[in-house]
């Protein structure tokens, strides 16, 4: 095999060592620090960004909880206010109703009483007029005058009978 020709060994070894040494030196000096530094910088940057994102996330979560709690509180408060208002409205309504009922009762009572009074008065009027009418009729019929007391007595009797028959 040509690879075992020892004639080339010395030059291959020499140039390999020299080439490798040069490459090593150049990379060691000019390439690796930059690339490794860049990699580390990027890793750090990514890590920082992730940390920051995590921080923001937890912050946002905290804020959200806070707002939720506040919202809950507000909702509760609103519920309370609504309930109070409802209760108040209910009470007012009941009060009003009661007052109205009382008022109506009073008006009805008044009216009943007035009607009763008017009715009685009307009956009395009718009674008086009827008596007079009866007297006049009786006078014409009997053609003789009775004294006032007799008249009244007859009339009352007639009226009594009349009202009895009427009531029946």
């Amino acid at each position: 095999m040509p690879q075992f020709e020892s004639h080339f060994f010395s030059s291959l070894i020499f140039w390999e060592v020299v080439s490798f040494a040069i490459l090593f030196f150049v990379l060691y000096k000019f390439a690796f620090p930059g690339i490794l530094g860049m990699l580390e910088e990027r890793e750090k940057k990514i890590k920082d960004s992730l940390d920051q994102a995590e921080h923001h996330r937890s912050e946002a979560e905290r804020k959200l909880k806070e707002y939720e709690a506040k919202l809950n509180m507000a909702a509760k408060e609103a519920d309370g206010i609504l309930a109070a208002a409802k209760e108040r409205a209910q009470r007012l309504m009941e009060e009003n109703e009661q007052r109205m009922t009382t008022e109506a009762e009073r008006i009805k009572g008044d009216a009943t009483r007035e009607i009763d009074h008017e009715r009685r008065k009307a009956i009395q009027d009718i009674r008086a007029q009827t008596t007079e009418l009866a007297l006049m009729v009786a006078e014409k019929v009997v053609q003789r005058s009775l004294n006032e007391a007799d008249h009244r007595k007859f009339a009352d009797e007639a009226l009594e009978a009349l009202s009895k028959s009427y009531q029946r």
Binding site: M1, P2, Q3, F4, E5, H7, F8, F9, S10, S11, L12, I13, F14, W15, E16, V17, S19, F20, I22, L23, F24, V26, L27, Y28, F30, A31, F32, P33, G34, I35, L36, G37, M38, L39, E41, R42, K45
Partner: protein, 249 residues
């Protein structure tokens, strides 16, 4: 006469140079090494000086490779292994680009030279030995006795472990060399068949050539990866004798 499939591995002195009796003539493989060094230098130095938070294509590519090697070191050796990052990364890039450049027809696969892979593997293994003795002193010889070995087995274990230690650099060198050589020999043979087969039957080996070419690109990556990975493992072994601090390699 048909061309030998080993022909692409032949070298010829292009510019004969001698340094104090040492023959350091320039040949195709040497030139390819220079090409690799230039390519890697341009790619990595440009990427290293771009330093954009949102990287471009070139920077992405370089960063991907660097990150790949870094995570490999982290996984096998832990944080203190990053001391070796420049060496291991250079090794990976050099081998990877040698493997890939060899895929270009007419070029030369430097890593198909056993002496080239041997230099790397002995460099790596030598470094692991030096590190081991520097960190653990004579106790590093304990690597020859795996933990939990019963006393009466020790005389047997020591020769076995010595063999396994010796096998490390050899297998490291031979694996890379053999993979690179075999792939190119296979391609050469298939292509030779395609040429000599003519249109009637030659299309079949030619189709295979294309398929195997794709496979070879994968192998170029995989072998560079394996070489680097084993480097990490061997150096890691020197660090953590018997995996005593949680890094079991």
């Amino acid at each position: 006469m048909e061309e030998s499939p080993l022909h692409p591995f032949e070298l010829h002195d292009w510019i004969p140079i001698s340094l104090g009796g040492l023959d350091i003539s320039i040949n195709k493989a040497v030139v390819m090494m220079w090409v690799v060094v230039s390519l890697v230098t341009v790619l990595m130095v440009m990427a290293g000086s771009a330093r954009k938070l949102v990287p471009g294509k070139l920077q992405s590519l370089a960063e991907m490779m660097v990150d790949f090697i870094r995570s490999m070191i982290m996984d096998t050796m832990g944080k203190e292994g990053m001391r070796f990052f420049p060496l291991i990364a250079t090794l990976f890039l050099f081998i990877l680009f040698c493997n890939l450049i060899g895929m270009i027809p007419g070029s030369y696969t430097v890593t198909s030279q056993i002496i080239v892979t041997a230099v790397f593997s002995f460099l790596v293994y030598g470094l692991s030995l030096v590190m081991g003795f520097m960190l653990h002193g004579v106790k590093y010889l304990g690597v020859l006795v795996p933990p939990g070995t019963p006393g009466w087995l020790v005389p047997l274990m020591i020769p076995i472990e010595i063999m396994s230690q010796v096998a490390r650099p050899i297998s490291l060198a031979v694996r890379l060399f053999a993979n690179m050589t075999a792939g190119h020999v296979l391609l050469g043979v298939l292509f030779g068949m395609a040429i000599s087969g003519g249109l009637l039957i030659g299309w079949l080996p030619f189709a295979f050539t294309i398929a195997i070419n794709g496979l070879e690109v994968g192998i170029a990556f995989i072998q560079a990866y394996i070489f680097t990975m084993l480097t990490c493992v061997y150096l890691g072994d020197a660090f953590h004798l018997h995996g005593d601090d949680g890094h079991a390699h």
